[in-house]
């Protein structure tokens, strides 16, 4: 073995850097030299990450790359969490990239499905966030990574801004396996406000001609919250948060969870729950959290990313949010997903649930992936520390006073019908058809039925922990499925028995008068109300204003 070289990756990197130098490129690269840079340091079949997140996207480099000659650069293998912008898919259509491992395609879901079907994109796998980050350190390490940052200095020290998001694992995996790290920076400065990535991990900085794209995807306008969502929020607080004493949790980003956040200062406070629930959260700085935070509910929040307009508010609440010495938010999706994975409760929504409790947002014409829900929304088999809800859930599930292991609460919050009369409950998920159509090894299930503990609808709460066997689970799910076909096929006798045992609870069983579910319970009914709660610190994007 002595003849064998053990530094081929480093040698290869050196050769690529040499080529860039020969082409006249230094550490700081002008925007019009970006294509030269990419052609210098990329090789066909390279594994590449062009940072795409929920919020920020390395959109400029993505655009430049999709325009390079596919004779020169082709068959790239893209490994990145988010492909939400059209530019990300152009790479494949233009023949520059071929294979893809990703987590989430959001608005590109329909085009993604088409490109897969046409054989333009070869899918490795649709991952959850944590498993993709993990595989950066196993067998999907990027050869070249492009990250999006707010600012860089001339040495190459990088400041990500409050949307740090995926940058740390991408850079760590690439830089320490002799890969090439390129930063797309909004601006070059003399001194960055804080160093999120040190200069010696960075190979090139491209000064982008315009700031990277940021999407305010976590802003929910309270004006759009319905009475039914408020009713369900009351049920969650009364039927789950209060009896289990939920202190450490993760909220999804829909209007249902926004409704919960907005009735904490009113409904939950009147129930005497201040200080007893919702103390520690793994969640982005959603504007609808402001009233709960201001009224003393929330002690600490760790975020996967930031949210447009929340920068000054977050910086002024550094007791609650994780902020750098410069004062601004430091987010980190990997750590936030990890934190949420080990919390006591996840609550989120979905588009379909079957009679086994499996849920999916995949519908037949689109492939979107699942974002953060799967890592948050599963029971951790590796958890060893106890808490009251963790123990109580296990007691309910096992019927034993001292169970051997605990149980995380995973709650699905859905209305029985979506807008337009589409039933959420179904005997069979579309996921099975998608698996067949696209030849997938596994069906695209977001949260597996055996991880789900509660399903909350406007009809009631199914507590699956108290169900013994698949038949009972099925009846409990049918019991809260309302007037959907799944619901109308319930067995009233068995449902009555489940209700007697608390495995099914209707609003009246937990002391809720459905007629009291009114928008007057919302601590903020408009974006302007949120600004008032924030003392003027929240600066909402123009699209959310009515002033």
């Amino acid at each position: 073995m002595n003849d064998m070289s053990w530094g081929t990756l480093a040698d290869d990197k050196a050769a690529r850097l040499d080529e860039a130098a020969r082409n006249g490129l230094g550490k700081i690269v002008a925007a019009d030299q970006a294509e030269t840079l990419l052609v210098s340091v990329l090789r066909p079949n390279d594994r590449i990450c062009i940072e795409g997140n929920n919020q920020k996207h390395a959109d400029f480099i993505s655009e430049v790359l999709s325009d390079v000659d596919p004779e020169v650069i082709h068959d790239l293998h893209v490994v990145q969490s988010n492909l939400a912008l059209p530019q990300h898919l152009d790479l494949f259509e233009h023949g520059v990239a071929k294979r893809l491992d990703f987590c989430y395609a959001g608005p590109q879901g329909i085009r993604m499905a088409q490109l897969i079907e046409d054989g333009v994109i070869e899918i490795g796998a649709i991952h959850t966030y944590l498993e993709l980050y993990a595989r950066y350190f196993v067998d999907l390490t990027p050869r070249v990574s492009v990250v999006a940052v707010e600012a860089a200095d001339r040495e190459g020290n990088l400041y990500t801004g409050p949307n740090t998001e995926d940058t740390p694992p991408i850079v760590e995996a690439t830089a320490f396996k002799s890969g090439i790290v390129i930063a797309q920076a909004n601006r070059i400065v003399d001194r960055v406000p804080r160093v999120d990535v040190p200069a010696d991990w960075t190979d090139f900085v491209v000064e982008a001609p315009r700031p990277h794209y940021i999407e305010p995807i976590f802003t929910r306008d309270p004006a759009a919250i319905t009475e039914i969502q408020i009713l369900m929020a009351m049920m969650v607080i009364r039927g789950i948060y209060e009896p289990y004493g939920i202190q450490r949790l993760n909220h999804g980003i829909g209007f249902g969870t926004a409704a919960i956040e907005l009735i904490l200062p009113t409904y939950a406070r009147d129930l005497g729950l201040l200080g007893k629930i919702c103390n520690y959260m793994s969640v982005n700085p959603c504007p609808t959290l402001i009233p709960a935070l201001e009224s003393g509910f929330i002690t600490s929040i760790h975020s996967a990313g930031s949210e447009l307009g929340m920068e000054d508010y977050v910086a002024a609440r550094s007791d609650v949010f994780f902020c750098g010495p410069d004062g601004s938010l430091r987010s980190n999706r990997a750590f936030c997903q990890l934190a949420g994975h080990f919390s006591d409760l996840f609550i989120g929504s979905t588009l379909q649930i079957d009679t086994a409790g499996n849920s999916s947002t995949a519908t037949s014409d689109r492939i979107t992936g699942f974002g953060g829900a799967p890592n948050f929304g599963c029971d951790s088999r590796a958890r060893r520390h106890a808490s009251d809800p963790f123990l109580q859930a296990a007691r309910e599930e096992t019927g034993q006073e001292s169970p051997q292991r605990g149980r995380k609460l995973v709650v699905q919050l859905v209305e029985t019908f979506r807008e337009g009369g589409q039933p959420v409950f179904t005997e069979r998920l579309d996921a099975w058809d998608i698996q067949k159509r696209f030849g997938m090894d596994l069906p695209p299930i977001m949260i597996h039925g055996d991880d789900v503990t509660h399903i909350v609808t406007e009809e009631g709460i199914a507590n699956l922990l108290l169900c013994r066997g698949p038949d009972e689970r099925e009846q409990a799910i049918r019991a809260v499925a309302g007037y959907t076909e799944v619901g109308r096929r319930r067995d009233p006798k068995r449902v009555a028995d489940l209700r007697r045992r608390g495995a099914v609870r209707y609003p009246s069983d937990i002391g809720i008068d459905t007629r009291l579910a009114s928008r007057s319970l919302l601590a903020a009914r408009s974006v302007r109300d949120l600004v008032r709660w924030s003392g003027g610190l929240y600066d909402p994007p123009a699209r959310f204003r009515n002033w």
Binding site: I228, L231, T416, Y483, R515
Partner: protein, 104 residues
């Protein structure tokens, strides 16, 4: 065209609706209005639904069956204009409407 659905329920309780006609809700997207009027219907309760959503007859029947079972009131005409409301919204408005004419 919109769809017109008519339902009739034979009920037992009589003479407990003494108030004038009441209207609850607004016809909007995913919303409905419920007009509830005392009427001489020989002990029956009549419900008429005009809806823009097609193919939900069976669900309307189930929702209204449950409502009539919960509130067995006689001599009542309930007229609904529907903009594609979900059963949850229908139930909520019916409950609010019946509370206006009964004292429940």
């Amino acid at each position: 065209m919109t769809t017109l659905l008519e339902f009739e329920f034979d009920n037992v309780k009589r003479g407990n609706t003494r108030r004038a006609a009441q209207i609850v809700g607004v016809v909007g997207s995913g919303q409905l209005e419920v007009l509830i009027e005392p009427a001489e219907l020989d002990g029956k309760c009549e419900i008429v639904v005009e809806t823009s959503a097609q193919g939900f007859d069976e669900i309307w029947r189930s929702v209204l069956d449950d409502f009539a079972a919960q509130y067995p009131v006689a001599d009542l005409r309930i007229s609904i204009n529907d903009g594609g409301a979900t059963p949850a919204v229908v139930n909520l408005r019916l409950q609010q409407a019946i509370a206006e004419v009964l004292d429940v």
